[in-house]
Symmetry: C2
Subunit: 156 residues, 2 copies
């Protein structure tokens, strides 16, 4: 697999068209073996879904289509550098490569929080803007003990 | 709003029950004004969706139920410290508070990649394990220019 400009142009075209469709200026697609498996655009406001970023939408659709949560062997093209949520999704999906157009600084310039969230995630939780408290850790750990003891589990 | 142990116990109960339901050992719920708006469990393997972590599932359901992508005024209780994907989703959803049980180090102990992904996200993209390349930035920026020029957009 290697970079193909036509997929990047397609992701950019999706990002532009999505503005006219009432969404944010973001588009993405997942490619495997020279075939587009799924495309996604930002549908946060239209679908009342704060997680409906272009990359997450494309990844969810691609995984459903291929019948696996593991997108090893696939690449993602996205019109903008992924935010931490989308980058996390890219890691969990085990995508091989990531190609992007605009940067998180570009996104900040037009009012999106990507850069802010990157800064927050790097901080210790007690320094973040969102109040974060650990509680009942002695009870919560029982789920992990049960998981470890289970023999027929599907690991991932 | 303030911390209520019963919600944390409920998130933990969800995480334990989810193991018997064929999912990972994670549960979460979104609370507003003393009412549980939505619950979520990890359905990654069952639904072939790498983004179906307990927090993302609970946030998506809560946003759909309330008819808005903006969950200001809501709190999230989760049986384990959110991974970067879920923490990003929590910021985008503008949740007020985050309560968690197990830590990302606990998750690492039982084989989950949360801690690894935190390490990756903090790195410059050229140092990360996933190959990351910026391309066609001069073309990609046209979407952002169009977004800025649009007058009747729904910002978020």
């Amino acid at each position: 697999m290697s970079y193909n400009e036509k997929y990047m142009r397609k992701a950019i075209a999706l990002s532009i068209r999505n503005i006219d469709n009432g969404g944010g200026p973001f588009g993405a697609l997942v490619v495997k073996d020279g075939e587009i498996i799924a495309v996604g655009t930002n549908r946060v406001t239209k679908q009342h879904d704060p997680t409906a970023h272009a990359e997450v939408v494309a990844i969810r659709k691609a995984a459903r289509k291929l019948g696996t949560f593991d997108l090893s062997g696939c690449e993602i093209y996205t019109s903008c550098e992924p935010c931490p949520m989308c980058l996390g999704a890219i890691y969990w999906a085990r995508l091989d490569c990531l190609y992007y157009g605009n940067t998180k600084e570009d996104a900040k310039q037009i009012g999106f929080d990507d850069s802010f969230i990157y800064d927050e995630i790097k901080m210790a939780s007690e320094l973040r803007k969102i109040k974060t408290v650990q509680c009942l850790s002695d009870e919560a750990i029982t789920a992990f003990e049960k998981w470890q003891a289970k023999e027929d589990k599907t690991a991932y």
